[in-house]
Subunit: 248 residues, 2 copies
Amino acid sequence: KEEDKYQLELGTVNERFIAVASGKGGVGKSTVTANLAVALSERGYKVGVIDADIRGFSIPRILGVEERPKAESENIIIPPQVNGIKVMSMGGLMEEEKPIIWRGPLLSKTFKQFVKEVRWGELDYLLFDLPPGTGDMPLNLMQQLPDSELMVVTTPQVAATKVSGRVAKMADELDCGLLGVVENMSYYQCSECGAKEYIFGQGGGAELAANLDTGLLAELPLVTEVRESSDQGEPIVTVNPEADISQK
Amino acid sequence: KEEDKYQLELGTVNERFIAVASGKGGVGKSTVTANLAVALSERGYKVGVIDADIRGFSIPRILGVEERPKAESENIIIPPQVNGIKVMSMGGLMEEEKPIIWRGPLLSKTFKQFVKEVRWGELDYLLFDLPPGTGDMPLNLMQQLPDSELMVVTTPQVAATKVSGRVAKMADELDCGLLGVVENMSYYQCSECGAKEYIFGQGGGAELAANLDTGLLAELPLVTEVRESSDQGEPIVTVNPEADISQK
Ligand SMILES: Nc1ncnc2c1ncn2[C@@H]1O[C@H](COP(=O)(O)OP(=O)(O)O)[C@@H](O)[C@H]1O
Ligand SMILES: Nc1ncnc2c1ncn2[C@@H]1O[C@H](COP(=O)(O)OP(=O)(O)O)[C@@H](O)[C@H]1O
Ligand SMILES: [Zn+2]
C-alpha cells in the first residue's frame, strides 16, 4: 500500500491530512486540533501539527511546546516535539506581542515552507489549525494539498452555523474532501448542582452536518477544565483521559 | 462647537467614531457592538453602525434588520434603520451562504463606499464592528478615519489577551486613539443554584487594560439570554433593560 501514502518533500503521511477549520473564530478550533493531536498520539499514531492560524496562533501554548524550531541547514527545519507530536507554528517564529500585518503572498510563501522545508519524517496524520474564515490560508491549503480533508468546528448556535459552514462551501468548490462537523461548547453542566444549560443554543452542529451532507463527528461540552488545561499547556486528554471530551 | 463635528461626505458625527475590535474572533465583538448601539440609542443618541466584519457579518441578524439598503442614486445609498439605528453591512449586499474569497483591494474599496456613499445624516456615534485580527480592515479604518477610537473586546482568559490586544498595538503604531477594554463572558452564574463559575478564566480584561495603559470599561457576564435575544434580533437592552449587561 506504499502508493497510498502521501509524499512530502521531507516525509510521508500514511493516513490523512486533516484541516481543522471554521468560518467563525472563537468556536474552539485550536482546542479541538490540539486535543485531536494528543488523542491520536495516545493511540499510537505519529502526528504532526501545523498551526496555520498565522494571526492567532495558540497551538504551541495549548500543547506546551517550549522549544523553537531548529535549522538543520539553510532550507531544512527540524520541528519541536512534545508528547511525540511534531509541531510547527508561526508562534515558533515570531514574538506573540507584535501585530501581524502580513499580506497574502507572504502568508502563502510561509505556508509552503512549513509543508516542504520541515523534516516531518514518517507521519500517520498531519493536522492543520487553519485561521478562521475563508481567506488566503484555507485557499493555500486546498490548492497546495488537494488530498486534505476538512473538519469543520462550530458552536451549537444555529445562526452561527451559516458563517462556520462557509469554509466547507469553499472546500466543495475546490474539490477538497469533507471529513465531518464537530460541535463544540454544546452544553454546560453546573459543577455544583449538575443542571445543564445550553448557553450557546442547540442543534447547530446537526443542522450544519445535514446542510453539508456529512456526519456530526462529536458534540463536546463546555468544560472549565478544558480551558484550564489549555492554559497549562496540557490538553485535556493528558490531564484526565477519562473525561468524555477526549473519547470522541 | 461646530468645528468639533467630524464631517463625512453625506453626514456628520458629533461625538465619536468607535471601532469595536479584537485580535481574536468569537469573543463577543458583534454582540457588544449591537448592544452598545441600542444602549446609546435608548439614551437619545443618533447612532449608525457599519458591519465591517466582511467575512463574518452578523450585525443585521442581531439587530433584527430586515430591509436591504436602497440606492437613492448611482452613488448614494440609503441605509436601513431599526430602532432609529442606521445599519450598513456586507450582510445587506450578499447572500450569507457564499464563501467570501475577497482580496484586500476589494475590501478596502467597499469600506470606502460604506463611509463616503451612504447618507448617514446627523449622527452622534458611528460604530464599526471590525473583523477579528489585524488584517486589511482595521488598517483601512485607521488610515481612512484617523479620528476613530478603538474599543478592544476580550474574554477573561489571560492567555487569549495577547492575541485580543494585538489590534491595539496596531492602533498605537497608526496613531489611532484607544477608548478602553471590554471584558466579555467574565463569569457564568447557574440559573438553578446561583453558583458562579469562571469558565473562561479570570483577570484577562484587567491585565490587558493595564498592559495597554487604558481603562477596563465593563465586565459582561456570560448570560444565555444574551445569545437567545441575539438569535431573535432583539439585543438584550431591548428585551430586558434592567439586565446588568446593558447598564455598563
Ligand atoms: N469545550 C470547551 N470547554 C471549555 N472551554 C473551551 C472549550 N473549547 C474551547 N474552549 C475555550 O474557548 C476559547 C476559544 O477556543 P480556541 O480553541 O482558542 O478557539 P478558536 O481556535 O476557534 O479561536 C479558549 O478560551 C478555549 O480555552
Ligand atoms: N455575554 C454573552 N453572553 C452569552 N452569549 C454571548 C455573550 N457574548 C457573546 N455571546 C455569544 O457568543 C457567540 C460569539 O459572539 P459574537 O458576538 O458573534 O462574537 P465575535 O463578533 O467576536 O465573533 C455568539 O453565539 C453570541 O451570541
Ligand atoms: Zn447549579
